[in-house]
Symmetry: C2
Subunit: 237 residues, 2 copies
């Protein structure tokens, strides 16, 4: 968490969020009014936050960075349509792409693409089209929301599209609950990844390497992923 | 800055980094040995950090997230080739893409692409190819290193490629030195952006909206960018 996120929560009269994220900041919530919301209630939560912010200091909590698949855009949309003149600040955070990357080593390092496999708000055909273009860029691709009870096969389809554009030895990292209780990291290859899909869930972030990404042996037992930035073409080291 | 980044710097005996980034953490450096390096010396800096880390606690400082166009990958590469058994931790941070986005409002919100316009380590033809694929995805694209003394025209070319795929009213945000002294924000459109290129420098991050991104009037005078996530197709608000 950034120092600014902590300050903003501490200065708030009222904190609204999904219970999962509120639990992670529980020590900061003492003495505050807290409204626990649930998945799928984002529009109601945003509306409530904007209404309450007319008279009180309200903090809306998201996991990772609120601007990336988080609450920032819906809060700003609701505020904009309301016509209310309420000051608002979006506090950036560490998004799952770079949190997961740091646990794997340095798989992103340069250009990369972020795509969610959730088709709740984007049609699946459009997601498939984006995946094809993203993998043909040859840069690492980070998949958010790779799997949920309602969507068992999205990750398998995405890995299949990746395999049309990238070699079978391309490294793939699964990072579940990065920096949270129950963190689990799997490093495999594009060829082997379909057999490991069971290890991903809705809290996982998947990093599929690009051209040049390679598996890196971290100490004796662990593996990670490095995507060289290209220094090796210019320097000896 | 995250709490973990602060802890790691505080626990280090020796801190190595580009002078620009060391200055930003000056209050944390009292009583520590500090090695100031300069732009273009990344390989030497990584090599020095790995050697010194055999006997001391060394922190290598990057701006933003060290895993994204930062020092993490070159440090891990040098460490890997050295064969030394030195424990290493990559501490994630807030990368310029989401820092800039938060100052603009919520322009990313869903899928997005990150591309650097620096051709120091990637051939320019390859960057152009990636830009074409990225803009044809129709999602927001964040440009790092948009301009430097040696590269005056890269941003103009990138905006031209964007204009082949996106409508002229597509919002474009220039964010210079997000959250730093001298911060400056410009919100314009793809049609008008070429005339504003002089406002970008090597410390700027450029956010080019996707299909659906729109300019948002922040209060009386300021403008921002929102990319709706798609709730408007499912809910009334």
């Amino acid at each position: 968490m950034t120092a600014r996120a902590r300050e903003v929560i501490q200065a708030a009269d009222l904190v609204i969020g999904n219970g999962l994220y509120l639990d992670q900041v529980a020590p900061l919530l003492a003495g505050k009014e807290v409204i626990r919301s649930s998945m799928g209630k984002e529009v109601d939560r945003a509306r409530q936050a904007v209404e309450l912010a007319c008279s009180r200091a309200v903090a809306v909590v998201s996991g990772g960075d609120p601007g990336v698949y988080g609450m920032a855009s819906i809060v700003l949309e609701v505020l904009d349509r309301s016509g209310l003149d309420v000051p608002v600040e979006v506090v950036p955070g560490v998004t799952a792409a770079t949190a997961a990357a740091s646990r794997l080593g340095a798989p992103l390092s340069g250009d990369f693409v972020v795509i969610s496999l959730s088709d709740l708000l984007t049609p699946w055909e459009e997601i498939e089209r984006r995946l094809g273009l993203a993998f043909s860029m040859g840069v690492p691709v980070v998949l958010y929301n790779p799997r949920s009870r309602g969507r068992q096969d999205h990750l398998a389809v995405a890995l299949g599209i990746a395999a049309e554009h990238l070699p079978p030895e391309t490294p793939v990292g699964f990072v579940k609950d990065a920096y949270r209780v129950g963190e689990a990291i799997t490093v495999t290859t594009l060829a082997e990844a379909p057999a490991r899909i069971g290890e991903a869930d809705m809290h996982s972030t998947i990093v599929i390497g690009g051209i040049g990404s390679r598996i890196w042996r971290k100490g004796k037992d662990a593996k990670g992923i490095i995507t060289p930035r290209g220094y090796e073409r210019k320097y000896l080291y």
